[in-house]
Symmetry: C2
Subunit: 351 residues, 2 copies
C-alpha cells in the first residue's frame, strides 16, 4: 500500500529516518563513552525500543510503571522509571516488575524512599535507586547536594534499595558543578556514584562536556519535531513522524481547514512560540494559526499556491511526544511504501 492511500488524520513514521536518528545518537554516545538509555515516552513502541537496544542502548527509560510493564511484556530488560512512585497500587506493580526485570527508580524525598523500601522488602525484591536532583529546571528533584547526600544515605540504609547514583533533567548550566559537589559529599560517606544520568534531546549534544555524567536519557531524537528543528537537535529531513492530513474545506481564498485538530495534532506549542501548530511540509509558507478539536485552520496568504479540497499534506508537529499519545496506531513506511502498522502499545499508560 502506498503511504498516500492511508486514511487521515494518521501518524506515519519513516523507518529510514528513525534508523538514521538512532544511529546518530548512539554514535555520539559511543564516541564519548556514554550509556544511552532512550526514553520510550516519545514512541511508546516496543518495536522501536528494540531497534534502539540493538543499536547499542544500555536499557530504556519509562515515565510510568504502565509503560515499563508494556516494555517488560515485550521482553525488554533494564528499565529506569524516572517518576516518583507513590501509592500502594503502584508499589505493588513495581515489586512485580522488579521480580522479572532489572529495574531502577528515582526519588527526591524520604517519603518515596521509605515507601519503596517497605514494599520491596515485603516482596523480597530489590531495585537500584537514583536520587533525582533539581539542577536548575525547577521541576522535581532535591534542591541541594546535601539533600542528595541525605537521601542516598537513607536509601543505602534501608532494605530493598541500592543507591547507584544521581539523575537530572535536562542539562542546565551549572549542572556539572552541582554533581561534583554532590559526589564529593557522597564520597565522604563512602558512597560511590556509579551512575549520573541526564535527560533531554535538546541538550544531548553537549552531555560529554559535563564531567561525571555516565548516561544519557533522550526520547524525542528518535522522531524529531518542530521544536527539535528550532533548537537544532534534529534536521527537518530527519523528522521521522508526520501527521498525514487532508484539506476538507477552503472557506476563503486564504483559509483552508485540515482534518487534524488538537485531538490528533495536539495544541501543545512545544518550544515553538510563533508560527503556529506544526509545519506543513508541502506548504512551508502556510501557518496553522488555530486548532479546534478536529479542525486545523491554515492561513495560506503567504503561499505561492492554493490548495483544493481533498489535497493531502503532512505536518511535522511542534511537540511529537504528545502527538503520539493521541493515536492508537502508527503507520510505518519505507520510501512511501507502507510496511507495517503498529499499535502504540504504551499509549495512554498513565499510571
Amino acid at each position: 500500500m502506498k503511504l498516500g492511500a492511508i486514511d487521515t488524520p494518521a501518524l506515519a513514521v519513516d523507518l529510514a529516518a528513525v534508523e538514521r536518528n538512532i544511529t546518530r545518537m548512539q554514535g555520539y554516545c559511543n564516541e564519548h563513552g556514554l550509556a544511552l538509555r532512550p526514553h520510550i515516552k516519545t514512541h511508546k513502541l516496543p518495536q522501536l525500543a528494540k531497534l534502539q537496544l540493538q543499536a547499542g542502548a544500555r536499557g530504556v527509560t519509562c515515565q510510568k510503571i504502565g509503560e515499563a510493564e508494556v516494555m517488560a511484556d515485550a521482553g525488554i530488560d533494564d528499565i529506569l522509571i524516572t517518576f516518583p512512585i507513590v501509592g500502594e497500587q503502584k508499589l505493588a506493580r513495581l515489586t512485580q516488575l522488579a521480580a522479572r526485570r532489572r529495574v531502577s527508580v528515582v526519588a527526591d524525598s524520604e517519603l518515596v524512599i521509605q515507601g519503596l523500601s517497605r514494599a520491596l522488602e515485603a516482596a523480597d525484591a530489590s531495585v537500584d535507586l537514583l536520587v533525582e536532583c533539581d539542577t536548575g529546571q525547577g521541576r522535581a528533584g532535591v534542591q541541594a547536594p546535601q539533600d542528595a547526600r541525605r537521601l542516598a544515605r537513607l536509601a543505602e540504609l534501608l532494605p530493598g534499595l541500592e543507591f547507584v547514583g544521581l539523575m537530572t533533567h535536562p542539562l542546565p548550566d551549572g549542572c556539572g558543578d552541582w554533581f561534583e559537589r554532590a559526589t564529593a559529599l557522597l564520597a565522604e560517606d563512602g558512597l560511590v556514584t556509579d551512575r549520573i544520568s541526564v535527560g533531554g534531546t535538546p541538550t544531548a549534544h553537549r552531555v560529554h562536556s559535563v564531567a561525571g555524567v555516565t548516561e544519557l536519557r533522550a526520547g524525542t531524537y528518535v522522531y524529531g519535531d518542530r521544536s527539535c528543528i528550532a533548537n537544532g537537535s534534529v534536521a527537518e529531513e530527519d523528522c521521522a513522524l508526520r501527521v498525514h492530513a487532508t484539506v476538507v474545506s477552503t472557506p476563503t481564498a486564504t483559509r483552508a481547514v485540515l482534518d487534524c485538530g488538537s485531538k490528533s495534532l495536539s495544541s501543545d506549542p512545544g518550544v515553538v512560540r510563533e508560527g503556529g501548530f506544526g509545519l506543513i511540509v508541502e506548504l512551508p509558507e502556510a501557518t496553522i494559526y488555530e486548532l479546534h478539536e478536529e479542525h486545523a485552520l491554515v492561513d495560506l496568504s503567504a503561499c505561492p499556491r492554493s490548495v483544493s479540497i481533498g489535497d493531502r499534506v503532512t505536518v511535522i508537529p511542534n511537540h511529537v511526544c504528545v502527538t503520539v499519545n493521541l493515536h492508537d496506531e502508527v503507520v510505518v513506511h519505507r520510501d512511501a511504501e507502507v510496511v507495517e502498522r503498529w499499535p502504540i502499545a504504551a499509549r495512554g499508560r498513565l499510571r
Copy 2:
C-alpha cells in the same frame, strides 16, 4: 470501592452532577421548543448518550464517522456528523452507516456534496444534508447566504442527498440575520429550511432568542469545565468530571508536583488564558503554572496550607473535551462511591 481509593491520574465522573446538567439543558430546550442534539465529542460514551436521549434529546451529534460508528453499534439512531466527509474510505463507511441508521451530514463545498452524492447513489443510500454556514466564527462554512443557496440547490438536484437545513457553530452576533437572509433566498427556489442547527455550550442559553433556530448541538455542558465556569455556562459544583491526582513531590515549600501532566490533563488552555492549567478544587488558591508530559507544577505560595507527598487532589480541567480524549477509562461515582468503570468507547476515533 471508595472514590478516594482509585489509582491516579484518573478521570472520575459524578453521575448525579451529569444528571443535573442533562436535566437543565433538556429543560431549557423543552421550554423553548428546541430540539437538543448533544455532541458526544465531550464524553465519547454510549452510556451518557443514552441518558441524554432518555431525557428527551432528538439524536446525537458526532464529529467523526468513527464516533458515529461507536454510537450506532450501541444502538443509537439519528446521528448528525458535523464535519466535512472527504475521501473514498470515509464515504464507504458513511454509506454503510446510512444503511443502518438515520444519518445527517454537513457540507460547505460543491466538491463535498458531489462526493457524498456519488457514493450514496452507488450504494442506493440517502442522508439528510445541512449546509454549514460561517456566520462569524471563521472556521469552516460557506461565507455568504447566496453560497448556502447555491449548495442547497445542488444537494436538492443530486441523488442520495436531501437538503434539510443550515448549520453553524457557535452563535455569533448577527447569526439570526444571516439565517434570515439565507432562508429567504432558499424560499425563492422553493427550498424549505426545516432545520437550523447551532452549536456550543457557552452560547446555548441564548439560542431561543435567535429566530428560526430549531436545534441546539451542545457537548461540554454534560461535564462542564473551567472554561464553562469562566463563561458562566456551568457552575463549579456541577462540573461533573475531575482529574484525580496525587502529590508526588514537594521540592520547595511553595512548589508541589502532581502526577497529572499534559498527557492526562492536556495543555489546552480552553478559554482560560490566566490562572493556569486547571482548578485544584481542594486548593483553589493554588496555580498549576506549568505542565510537562507527566508532571503538573503547582505554585502554593498563595495557599493557606501546604501539601504532603501522597495527598490526593481533584482537578477541574480547563477544556474537558480534550482531557477526556487522553484517557481510556472513566470511573463513575455517586456520592464518592464508585459504581461503574466505563471504557471511553469513542476515544481516539480520529477518522
